[in-house]
Assembly symmetry: C2
Homo-oligomer: 142 residues x 2
């Protein structure tokens, strides 16, 4: 692994960018009484209906952690559990209408919070950035 200043600078920029966005997300979560982790849960449930273990795997958390997280959100009426009819051991998790509303609101808040930074880029640059982030997100090939 050869020393490469650009790689170093990029690692630095990516990490700082990560913390900056995490800060925004944490703040928006806190405004809605949600932790960052719960925010992620809602993000995942937006277009999925996973079982508990799948959800835990997405988030890199233990099953038991997942149980508690779901408990608390369920008590608040934001999501619900349902036994999987095909396999009695499995519990599916999904958003309630209230949870869906909240998720939508959260998404708009995040969008509005990040928009000022994004619109600092010219439209052509936005497309460029999108194209550059893609290979970082999708480990296609390799």
């Amino acid at each position: 692994m050869p020393a490469d200043d650009t790689v170093d600078a990029l690692v630095d920029a990516l990490v700082r960018c990560t913390f900056q966005i995490t800060g925004v997300l944490t703040r928006i979560g806190a405004d809605n009484d949600l932790s960052l982790t719960q925010l992620r849960v809602f993000g995942i449930l937006r277009d999925r209906r996973p079982r508990v273990t799948e959800l835990a795997a997405y988030l890199g958390l233990d099953k038991s952690t997942m149980s508690g997280l779901i408990d608390r959100a369920e008590r608040r009426g934001l999501l619900a559990r349902e036994k999987n009819p095909a396999d009695g051991r499995v519990v599916d998790v999904f958003l309630t209408p209230a949870g869906r509303d909240l998720t939508q609101r959260l998404y708009l808040e995040v969008r509005d919070a990040l928009a000022p930074e994004i619109t600092r880029l010219r439209p052509a640059q936005r497309d460029q950035l999108l194209a550059l982030l893609d290979p970082l997100l999708n480990p296609t090939g390799d």
Copy 2:
């Protein structure tokens, strides 16, 4: 604020990128018995010697949270407190040699973990990405 699909896609990509990198950082932290927050603490102390409140402000945390964080790391000999000679109320925080070593190792681990993704970009693209991230990080002007 007009609807703009590119902005939406970019928000999505940035958030996913954030969680992906957070995952990497969390794993590296865990391998070294450090939480993500502690990782950030070490990152900040790498080239600073802040007072407790400054550190808390950087991280967006309460003073009291900071106290505990520092306590635990201090007990492990990774960082130290020192009364500020100019103002008896203030406590400065800084890395011990052991903490400095650990921080350096962590940095290399992060670098190695992110390098594969980065080297998927051609060198010219890396420079481009760096240039595009810059305005997101530095709210110059506005």
